[in-house]
């Protein structure tokens, strides 16, 4: 996500970093590059202009000139302004109203409203809310079927609507149904529409009047170009939007729409869609995103993901062993790999690492790494419990059996054992030397790396 922008800004700012003094000329150079990078990233031109003006003003200010490391100070300014542009902090859904709290979804065709509705329903269900999904998309063929199918898969209640009904009728009926059924939340999906289609915009305005939603979410494709400004404006003019959902962030290499839409509407980006799977919806954290653009990594959301998916007791056990540097065996090795897979695999992890770290992994192909992890797991699975806890007893005969059992060559078993030995050594180093030494040692020793 956003790698290109990160890369561009970094190459620009790298030259700044080394410079002892900032001059008007090198600030102008940097700002020109930042402008190009933002434009290439599809940030809308008016937004870029505002941003550059703001950064330039501050970069020429006292705080930067007097700083011992002016390059760093400029990066700090860019980072702060980027964060400010995307909103100060994460804003969550506001559902504090007399139930049912209605969430109205709006956006262009193909922006991802239906998928997002289902993801949101799942998220709220996990928070013990009683959720009802409703679709008023009577135009796109099988749009209602799509939401019904998703609702069934997620075991969420679905209000049965039909393409012969008017959306306003569906709105009224579903609201009654939700009240009678004591639902906490109603997620109301609508048809995709163009901001310039007056009839369709009037329709959604009518729906808004009937439903009185506490949240009106504008769903935007993160790949959208310069026109994001116009679309956002036209929806914002007609509907009192309360928040934005940015979709398809996993595929986007640039993501400038995030900045544009936020700037134009002034409404917070509440969620980002990061996968086509139903749990691929994450809260949006402006500060983290700014850090990420600047290559500082999204370590915070990595930690959150870890907390969500990792078996804490298991992790505690491994951590104890790591600390003591003793008794770390192949069972722990395997459980660590499984934890990693639970967190979305190597690729997802690397994506969130600071660039210094993921850069270290170099041209690592996360696909290959994934494959080699699976193979290693297979090999360990072919070992007896005794072999797993005491790998030193594995000699030629055992190796041949393990290789045959997991469908690999004896060399592969050897490689795993060597790797494991290395890791054991590293673990000891880790317990003695701390993180810095550990990271240096890790270079090139990760399975699938280098």
């Amino acid at each position: 996500m956003l790698e290109n922008l990160t890369g561009r800004l970094q190459s620009v700012l790298k030259t700044l970093r080394g410079q002892a003094r900032l001059t008007e000329a090198n600030i102008a150079d940097a700002m020109r590059e930042v402008r190009m990078a933002l434009l290439e990233a599809d940030v809308a031109l008016p937004v870029v202009k505002d941003f550059i003006a703001q950064v330039k003003l501050r970069a020429q200010g006292r705080e930067v000139i007097q700083s011992l490391t002016p390059g760093q100070a400029v990066i700090q300014v860019v980072h702060e302004e980027l964060t400010a542009l995307m909103g100060k902090e994460n804003v969550t859904l506001n559902l504090s109203t007399v139930p049912p709290a209605v969430i109205l979804m709006a956006g262009l065709q193909g922006s991802g409203k239906t998928t997002t509705s289902a993801k949101l329903a799942k998220l709220l269900k996990e928070q013990k809310k009683k959720v009802l999904l409703v679709s008023a998309d009577v135009y796109r063929p099988a749009a209602i079927d799509q939401l019904r199918t998703l609702a069934r898969t997620l075991e969420i209640d679905f209000f049965q609507s039909d393409i012969s009904q008017k959306p306003a009728l569906i709105a009224g009926d579903s609201l009654d149904f939700a009240k009678r059924g004591y639902y906490d939340v109603v997620i109301f999906d609508t048809a995709g529409r163009l901001g310039i289609d007056e009839e369709m915009m009037a329709e959604i305005k009518e729906l808004h009047t009937i439903l009185k939603p506490i949240e009106t979410l504008f769903v935007v494709d993160a790949m959208q170009g310069q026109d994001a400004v116009n679309t956002a404006r036209s929806f914002n003019d007609v509907l009192p939007l309360t928040g934005i959902v940015l979709t398809k962030m996993d595929g986007d290499s640039r993501g400038g729409a995030a900045l544009s839409v936020r700037h134009v509407t002034g409404k917070p980006i509440k969620f980002v869609g990061v996968s086509e799977k139903v749990d691929g919806l994450e809260p949006f954290y402006p500060e983290r995103m700014a850090s990420r653009i600047l290559g500082m990594g999204d370590v915070l959301s990595l930690i959150e993901q870890a907390q969500k998916n990792v078996d804490l007791a298991e992790a505690q056990k491994v951590a104890e062993k790591l600390k003591s540097g003793k008794g770390f065996d192949l069972n722990d090795f395997k459980s660590q790999m499984q934890q990693m897979r639970k967190m979305g695999g190597v690729g997802a992890l690397m994506d969130k690492m600071p660039t210094q770290m993921s850069g270290m992994a170099g041209k690592m192909n996360s696909e290959d790494a994934e494959k080699s992890l699976r193979r290693i797991e297979g090999i360990i699975n072919s070992m007896t419990p005794l072999e797993r806890s005491r790998p030193d007893i594995i000699k030629a005969t055992r190796k041949r059996r393990i290789a045959a059992g997991s469908g690999v060559q004896v060399q592969d078993v050897n490689r795993l054992l060597n790797q494991f030995e290395e890791i054991q050594k590293m673990m000891k180093m880790f317990s003695k030397g701390g993180m810095g030494k550990f990271m240096r040692a890790m270079q090139g020793r990760f399975p699938g790396v280098g």
């Binding site: 306003a168 163009l194 494709d221």
Partner: protein, 318 residues
């Protein structure tokens, strides 16, 4: 008060009165509105100086033309201004039109389906680009040309994608081959065999939306392509990449990624009625010139037409 709800989408489908050019003009009205108006203001007359080029750059960039293509268009116009001794901003419009046309004309290559029977067309693209809708429109288009069509519901991933296609098939009276769940390759394989047996002219194969970053899905679609080749050597004869015209510079990366994986033979540019900018076409023409077979300029079933560079540029600058 519910008057606006009475709009009947189906009636627009049957409305044959609008000519193709009218429709394109109508669809492009917004593009023209923003792009053209600003150009007209700009080209109203007066002397050519640097601030005009800067203004021009702004217009091109905010139309999603992209930095590289903008730069090259500007260089060309500057060249023309010098060579032809232009000294009035009004003449700049023709120069820009000419440059735009030169950039886009090579992409105007209509799809010829006559060589093969069945002619197998596979559609690909990112999620929400408009693949399924385009298939519905293509089916209608080919039927209007007197060809028999079969649709393969190859999107076995997205919920109700199959039902969506079946509805399109129902409207066009076209048979849709699908299976419960199952493998996209297998569905399309069966469709091609069925088309061979029935003597069908055109097979339209839908596939699930995928982002180029999802390497496993990019691998999957290459497999689907190979499987189609097993059902009918040489097939698929056309691989269409469907692009949402709302997309910014990412459209260029999409074209590159899908072309690298599949050797894309044609593009379909959808939702041109909604976006203010058709400029991404120029960016694509610059970096990976692949023929634009069709453009979608409206929501009704016959709003998908062959791409014409001339009409496009004319409508843009009118």
């Amino acid at each position: 008060m519910f008057d606006f709800l009475k709009k009947d989408k189906a009636s627009a489908v049957d409305d044959p009165k609008l000519s193709w050019t009218d429709r394109l003009k109508k669809g492009l009205a917004r593009t023209r509105g923003q792009f053209g108006d600003r150009l007209s203001n700009l080209f109203g007359g007066g002397k050519i100086d640097d601030s005009i080029y800067e203004e021009l750059e702004t217009i091109l960039i905010t139309s999603d033309v992209g930095i590289a293509a903008t730069q090259s268009l500007l260089d060309q116009i500057k060249g023309r201004v010098k060579r032809q001794n232009l000294n009035d901003t009004a003449q700049l419009k023709d120069a820009l039109k000419q440059s735009m046309l030169e950039l886009l004309s090579p992409l105007e290559q209509p799809l010829d389906t006559s060589g093969q029977k069945p002619f197998v067309i596979m559609l690909t693209g990112v999620n929400g680009a408009g693949k399924t809708t385009s298939i519905g429109k293509l089916a209608s288009l080919f039927q209007a040309q007197g060809k028999s069509v079969l649709i393969a519901a190859g999107d076995t991933f997205r919920a109700a994608a199959k039902e969506q296609l079946q509805e399109w098939g129902h409207r066009n009276n076209v048979h849709v081959v699908s299976s419960e769940g199952g493998d996209p390759g297998a569905v399309i394989f069966d469709s091609v065999n069925s088309a061979k047996a029935k003597g069908i002219d055109i097979v339209l194969a839908d596939t699930a939306g995928r982002l180029p970053t999802q390497l496993n899905l990019m691998e999957e679609i290459r497999k689907v392509q190979r499987v189609i080749g097993k059902a009918l050597p040489g097939a698929p004869h056309e691989i269409l990449l469907v692009l949402d015209a709302n997309t910014g510079q990412n459209a260029v990366s999409q074209v590159k990624a899908f072309d690298d994986a599949l050797k894309v033979t044609g593009l379909v540019l959808t939702k041109l009625d909604g976006t203010a900018k058709g400029g991404v076409i120029a960016a694509i023409a610059q970096s990976r010139p692949i023929p634009i077979r069709f453009i979608g300029v409206g929501e009704t079933i016959d709003d998908l037409r062959a791409f014409s560079a001339n009409e496009f540029v004319e409508a843009l600058f009118e």
